[in-house]
């Protein structure tokens, strides 16, 4: 089958493993951009989500953000930023971050809202300060959902960063975009495989994080 053949020859070509267009370099770039975008999006989304979830205020705004986040076209935003702001990292980072904030924010909000109110009431009754209640009672229980929101955002970032190669970002998307332009399908398919693998590794990574951070008392029946 052609696809497998392409994959095989792409990865066995040793020149693909060196240099600025080599797999290690591109992979590193992709991961770097993704991590930065995720960190920024989390720095925005997590605190806001925690706060609104804890106080319960701003539910309507959150719902609006959810819809808006879904309605904005990722690719369109990338190109828009590019034509408005030109080449560079910032025009790419902005859409990456902006599109990743809604999943984190909304899922964190829902996660905290859906915590059983009984322990929260008991904690207040015991004399815990509000911040303690949020971080020591609500957060540990909301953690699985919050992590799934982060995971969702991470995968979205990896995916959008791939497309961002179109507006000159480096990373693994380069193989696909350049390959399409050059009609070099070996490159295209090789790049696609790498991106897919990276996405799956991200999935696995979050699974591991969940295993280590979520209390066994909370984990019990989650898949």
């Amino acid at each position: 089958m052609n696809v497998l053949h392409f994959i095989n020859s792409f990865f066995s070509d040793s020149s693909h493993w060196h240099g600025y267009d080599g797999i290690p370099t591109r992979l590193r770039e992709h991961v770097q951009y993704s991590l930065i975008a995720l960190a920024i999006a989390a720095a925005i989304g997590l605190p806001v989500g925690l706060l609104t979830g804890h106080t319960g205020r701003g539910g309507n705004t959150v719902a609006f953000i959810a819809t808006a986040g879904r309605a904005l076209p990722s690719f369109g935003l990338l190109v828009l930023m590019f034509v408005l702001l030109g080449l560079g990292l910032t025009p790419v980072m902005i859409p990456l971050v902006v599109l990743a904030v809604p999943p984190i924010l909304v899922t964190t909000y829902e996660a905290v809202r859906s915590v059983d109110p009984s322990p929260v009431d008991a904690a207040r009754g015991m004399g815990m300060a509000e911040s303690r209640v949020l971080f020591q009672v609500e957060l540990p229980v909301a953690l699985p959902l919050i992590l799934s929101g982060l995971r969702s955002a991470a995968i979205q970032i990896v995916s959008t960063a791939t497309i961002a190669a179109y507006v000159s970002l480096g990373g693994l998307g380069r193989y696909i975009v350049d390959g399409l332009y050059q009609r070099n399908y070996e490159k295209v398919v090789g790049g696609a495989t790498l991106v897919a693998v990276l996405a799956l590794v991200t999935l696995g990574f979050f699974g591991l994080v969940a295993r280590f951070t979520v209390s066994p008392g909370v984990r019990r029946s989650a898949p």
């Binding site: 322990p119 209390s215 008392g217 019990r220």
Partner: protein, 376 residues
């Protein structure tokens, strides 16, 4: 002493949850707030630890207004037990119990040691310490809730329908445990329930509240049963008020007959000796003195008594320890109309007729007695 002074709670939409409530909650006793839904009992409780702030009035503890101290200091000085326990599902049992001590700054080891002590005190097996809440039954979780509330040894314990979410058998066990713990610790307990029987069983003082947040009556349970202040309270107390009132009369004053009792290996002479014309039956016991059943003297064949042909002896009561209600119940359960009194070891100490019990009831009423709550 916790003093509630003209406290009212009014909500923005106009509902009055608590209406000008004033009463004094005594120290080192269990005070129960009881009433139908919407009577303000839970609201009142939650005003004591300022989970809800009153619209009017003040609450003072030992003279100090509760609004004069930081709210978390107040709350850390009280135990708070709610329905469904509200355990932290992400923490082990032992860490759940150690929560308030840790909040107060105790080091981990000391807090956990204290938690273990409390597990024992509330009747939880030590092996459960490292388990998580989801691994425990409802009754066990409630015990953890109580242990958690007691951890920092607060003088006051607030309990909001803590036993309502478990089945009746478990509930009875928890109620008995609470009474036992109270015997040992002597806390000031404010207890909310909708179950009047629970209130009567465990309360030293009972506050009956009406829908709309009014206090209907505040009295010891015996008084409540004998003198309900109005039709609402009477209605709320339910049926069999008189019989339930008997739980508050001790059986200690009952005169027991010891004559009409024979052992299963009695000789004909002994049987004859024991039969009197006052008592139409003889109680047959086993060789250790434990009751087997009743029989007419003539029907007994010395040396060959068949336990299966004896009349049922009903339910024995512990003389002196159980109440006249238990004695009466025992008498009514036997077709002979006589009750069997036993000691703590189960050995028969005497028998008593319904009539004698009836006379004892009448004189108890006449004396206007109100003994301390007696078991049964």
């Amino acid at each position: 002493m916790i003093r509630i002074d003209s406290v009212t709670k009014r909500y923005p939409d106009g509902t009055v949850a608590v209406d000008n409530l004033s009463l004094e909650i005594p120290d080192r006793a269990i005070t129960v707030f009881v009433g139908p839904s919407g009577c303000g009992k839970t609201t009142t409780l939650r005003m004591i630890n300022r989970m809800i702030e009153p619209s009017e009035g003040t609450i003072t503890i030992d003279g100090k207004d509760i609004t004069q101290q930081p709210v978390n200091t107040l709350r850390r000085s009280m135990g708070y037990v709610i329905q469904n326990a509200g355990l932290f599902q992400h923490r082990t049992i032992i860490d759940n119990i150690a929560t308030v001590p840790r909040l107060l700054g105790w080091d981990k080891a000391k807090a956990r040691a204290r938690a273990r002590e409390l597990m024992e005190r509330v009747g939880l097996d030590g092996t459960l310490a490292k388990r998580y809440p989801y691994q425990l039954s409802g009754g066990q979780q409630q015990r953890v809730g109580v242990a958690r509330a007691l951890a920092a040894d607060p003088p006051v314990l607030l309990m909001d329908e803590p036993f309502s979410a478990v089945d009746p058998v478990v509930r009875k066990g928890l109620q008995d445990e609470l009474l036992r713990i109270q015997d040992e610790l002597g806390k000031t307990i404010v207890f909310v329930t909708h179950d009047i029987d629970e209130a009567v069983k465990i309360g030293t003082m009972v506050a009956v509240m009406r829908t709309g947040g009014h206090l209907a009556q505040f009295a010891p349970p015996a008084e409540l049963l004998s003198n309900p202040s109005d039709a609402f309270v009477e209605d709320f107390l339910g049926a069999d008020r008189g019989i339930r009132r008997l739980s508050f009369f001790s059986s200690a004053g009952l005169d027991l007959l010891t004559t009409p009792i024979v052992a299963v290996d009695a000789t004909a002479a002994q049987i004859a000796e024991r039969s009197t014309k006052d008592v139409p039956y003889l109680l047959v016991t086993d060789v250790d003195g434990r009751p087997l059943g009743w029989s007419e003297p003539g029907a007994l064949t010395a040396g060959a008594v068949d336990p299966a042909r004896l009349l049922p002896y009903g339910r024995p009561f512990e003389h002196g320890k159980e109440s006249l209600r238990a004695a009466l119940d025992g008498a009514v359960l036997s077709p002979t109309g006589w009750a069997v009194a036993v000691g703590a070891d189960g050995r028969v100490t005497g028998v008593v007729s319904q009539q004698t019990i009836g006379e004892a009831i009448r004189s108890a009423h006449a004396e206007g007695r109100s003994d301390e709550k007696v078991a049964g």
